[in-house]
């Protein structure tokens, strides 16, 4: 058999595509080396850490007996909240999948003018906190308040969660597959639907899950849009009464909802791995000419970027222009920005450190234990910041008073909240590194830990760095947990923004919002540019 000479140069070590798919799947799943203690123990620690707030919620919920808790669950208002949260999540997921997949395909695979620019713009909404976006739209169009406004703002804010993994997956698919399909007589659309899209389903599924979780746990945007979901109701209930049990019970229902979302994503992903998508393709795909659709394509990208990035910035610019130098202090802004960045860096570092073992286990082992560990680490995203904060207050007051109202407690809360993001990033990154290389390392005498350090982590480093940057960004934007857990006298950009907005001092709030956007835009920009 003559191998075309071209494939010689394409036979890079990262691609192993020739082996029959079935046997490869078998090898990579249950038949690899067993999960070693080096991974299992830290992963279990992470899972236990992530489950701590949930344990507290259960304890609080049942403090006054099971009957009392059940009465709250059975209340008609709970069902009403469920419908409101779910319908919002459904609409936002659909919209952000539409936005994320279309932008990813346009920027990665078509002859769109200035694709790099649009790629950066597509990731920038990450830097615009959903409550800032809500504020900017609401201050211009007060009639948006309610479901429409919440759906619009959250869809725009969440689309990068679909865009980023889908764009990465598109870059990973060997263009030879699509070329083969074209040569077999399928049109561009047919190839996209039959070859490309099926391979994107893990990326789309993972992204959609993140979006759904984000919507269900969002507090800032729905509060500003005055649309009652679980989180807003929990917050109101906590603030309004001394009895914290209803807040805890509602949180438990919310966690149940998210658990179902995680299970649904699991089922969708099935047993399939990221077969066929290696670590980046050796040559980029040919870009598809858009022809007459060029105008509409650019228009669509511009519409999304305008609504998600330009409009909020313009709105903030307007409010800043309205203000005077007397309404805000630059030195105070700088101090707050520095404090926020330091907190976020510490939070991101701790989160990635904790996510590492779980992400590797989730990528390499498809056992029941691995499922449980990964799902446990996803608990955080299902818990609104306010409840994680409550759990930390409760635990520190009772078991570690020295930590009460200290920054390490807040950093731990961040890690609990954003583990899902980091675990997803680590898992995806590790999946891109062929397990074959780990086998090689083992056969060359490295143990599980040595293999992790010398092969898996360096290969997955770009993906893990992406995860760290994402975590940094979302921590900078975090509001409810920071509001409750920040040390006395310490403010972050988000809390200052919130305080000023609370007293309708929009002109004073605007510089903080802008600073928040600019700082958070740096990692987003790097994500879009750095591949």
């Amino acid at each position: 058999m003559n191998v075309p000479s071209q494939s010689l140069f394409r036979a890079g070590p990262g691609e192993k595509r020739r082996a029959p798919a079935v046997s490869r799947r078998r090898r990579g799943t249950s038949e690899g080396p067993r999960m070693s203690a080096v991974l299992a123990v830290p992963a279990a620690v992470t899972a236990a850490f992530a489950l701590l707030p949930l344990v507290y919620l259960t304890v609080r919920s049942l403090e006054h007996g099971f009957g009392y808790a059940w009465d709250i669950v059975a209340d008609g208002r709970t069902a009403h909240l469920l419908v409101r949260s779910l319908s919002l999540a459904l609409v936002v997921v659909a919209a952000s999948v539409l936005i994320g997949v279309s932008l990813a395909w346009l920027t990665e695979r078509t002859a769109l003018p200035a694709p790099r620019l649009w790629a950066v713009l597509a990731t920038l909404p990450l830097a615009v906190p959903s409550y800032v976006m809500a504020f900017s739209w609401l201050s211009a169009f007060p009639s948006l308040a309610g479901f429409r406004g919440a759906a619009l703002v959250l869809s725009l804010a969440c689309s990068p969660y679909v865009y980023l993994p889908v764009a990465a997956a598109l870059r990973g698919i060997d263009p030879a597959q699509e070329e083969a399909a074209r040569s077999l007589g399928h049109g561009a659309l047919g190839v996209f639907l039959r070859i490309t899209l099926p391979q994107l389903r893990h990326a789309v599924g993972g992204g959609a899950l993140l979006v759904a979780l984000y919507v269900v746990a969002d507090f800032g945007a729905v509060s500003l849009m005055r649309y009652d979901t679980f989180t807003r109701a929990i917050h109101t209930s906590y603030r309004a009464s001394f009895d914290r049990t209803p807040a805890a019970v509602l949180s438990c229902v919310l966690v149940l909802l998210t658990a179902l979302l995680v299970l649904a994503e699991r089922r969708a992903r099935g047993r399939a791995r990221l077969a066929g998508t290696g670590r980046g393709s050796p040559r980029p795909a040919e870009r598809l000419p858009l022809g007459r659709l060029r105008g509409p394509a650019v228009g669509w990208c511009a519409l999304v970027a305008g609504a998600a990035v330009a409009f909020p910035l313009g709105s903030l610019g307007y409010w800043i222009a309205q203000g005077t130098s007397a309404t805000w202090d630059p030195a105070e802004l700088a101090d707050t920005a520095w404090a926020t960045a330091r907190l976020a860096a510490a939070g991101a570092a701790l989160t990635i450190l904790l996510a590492l073992p779980v992400g590797v286990v989730a990528a390499r082992h498809r056992t029941r234990t691995a499922h449980l560990l990964e799902q446990a680490s996803f608990a955080g995203h299902a818990l609104p910041g306010i409840t994680v904060a409550l759990a930390m207050v409760f635990l520190s007051v009772r078991y570690a008073y020295a930590l009460y109202q200290q920054w390490p407690l807040l950093v731990m809360a961040y890690a609990m909240l954003f583990l899902p993001l980091a675990v997803t990033a680590v898992r995806t990154a590790v999946l891109q590194a062929p397990p074959e290389l780990e086998y090689m390392a083992r056969s060359l005498g490295r143990g599980p830990l040595g293999t992790l350090r010398a092969v898996t982590v360096p290969l997955a480093a770009p993906g893990i760095a992406t995860g760290a940057a994402l975590t940094f960004v979302v921590i900078m934007k975090e509001l409810p947990a920071t509001l409750l857990l920040r040390p006395t006298g310490m403010d972050t950009l988000a809390t200052r923004l919130w305080t000023h907005t609370g007293v309708a001092a929009y002109a004073a709030a605007a510089p903080y919002a802008l600073a928040l956007i600019l700082i958070a835009a740096v990692p987003s920009y790097l994500l879009g540019r750095h591949r």
């Binding site: 080396p33 086998y439 083992r442 056969s443 290969l459």
Partner: protein, 368 residues
Amino acid sequence: MTELRVRGLTKTYRRGEPVLRGLDLNVAGGELTAVLGPSGCGKTTLLRIIAGFVEPTGGTVAVGGRVLSGPGVRIRPERRAIGIVAQEGALFPHLSVARNITFGLTALARPDRRARAGELLELVGLAGLDARMPHELSGGQQQRVALARALAPRPSVVLFDEPFNALDSSLRGGLRDDVRAALRATGATAVLVTHDQQEALSVADRVAVLREGRVEQHGTPEEVYRQPASMWVAGFVGDAVLVPASAAGGIAHTPLGRVPLTTDARTTDADGDGTALLRPEQLRLGAADASATRGTVTDIRFHGHDTVALISVGGLPRAVAVRHAGPLALRPGDSTGLTITGTATFYPDAPPPSSDAATAEARAQRVR
């Protein structure tokens, strides 16, 4: 010189048919055995079990008398001192050539490691490429680095997983020779898995033919080719001319004429009807005189180094293949004489596959 012993190896994946069904294999120290079989015969699973990546369902694997896999024993891959060269090299893409090679040399001091890398690069013919990154190498060079990396920690056994598969056929020969030379130089015991019978016959000291999870035959390349243990093996390792024969006193009578039988324990006392195996190069074309069998040329296939003529002979349902070195001055329709050289292998009580179903199946599997 370390012997590899595999005894009664079985493997059944969670769902489905057993992949290995009581496989036995001995590889003497310093020897290179090719494990040859069609896809799905379990050869890759065998390799991965020896390497320790996959746990067998039953049976034992021992190297130099030390049990690596067996009842209650499971030595981890990193403690086995078994090197492996993967299909497409599987070099670490983030490490330079030198650091790939020294990857397994954690116990050595840094200067020693560098020296060893240089030594191995020399051995595989890539001296001076230490600083290159894997993506800057051609496929053949990557395989050489993969070999150097596997040999660096001086493993007692080296495993090759179809290492020449991804290479241009023009590169394969050279690399094969270099692999042999490198193995000789290091004295390592080696197992090479392949589905390419030419590769197996030309590179290995011994060939083990695998079929459906068992070793169907294990012998020198000559034995496997000249005296296949079954008609399936005969068809799998090369072109086979299988003709009905009746044997008496060590001579087979066939429609192609009389031919002495290869004397081995299996066939000496086998008198009666059966099938005789000849290879196309054992048939000679010549004048259609009394000593020869008459036949008619039906097709001529020119391969460059040789020519295969298909000759139809009375009494045989199908034309027989005759391999002739160099070009041939015959054309389809010509009549010719046919004589047999050498000896035939006899399969008693087995009719030759009438529609050549068995050999066709074996050939089809071989071609894959």
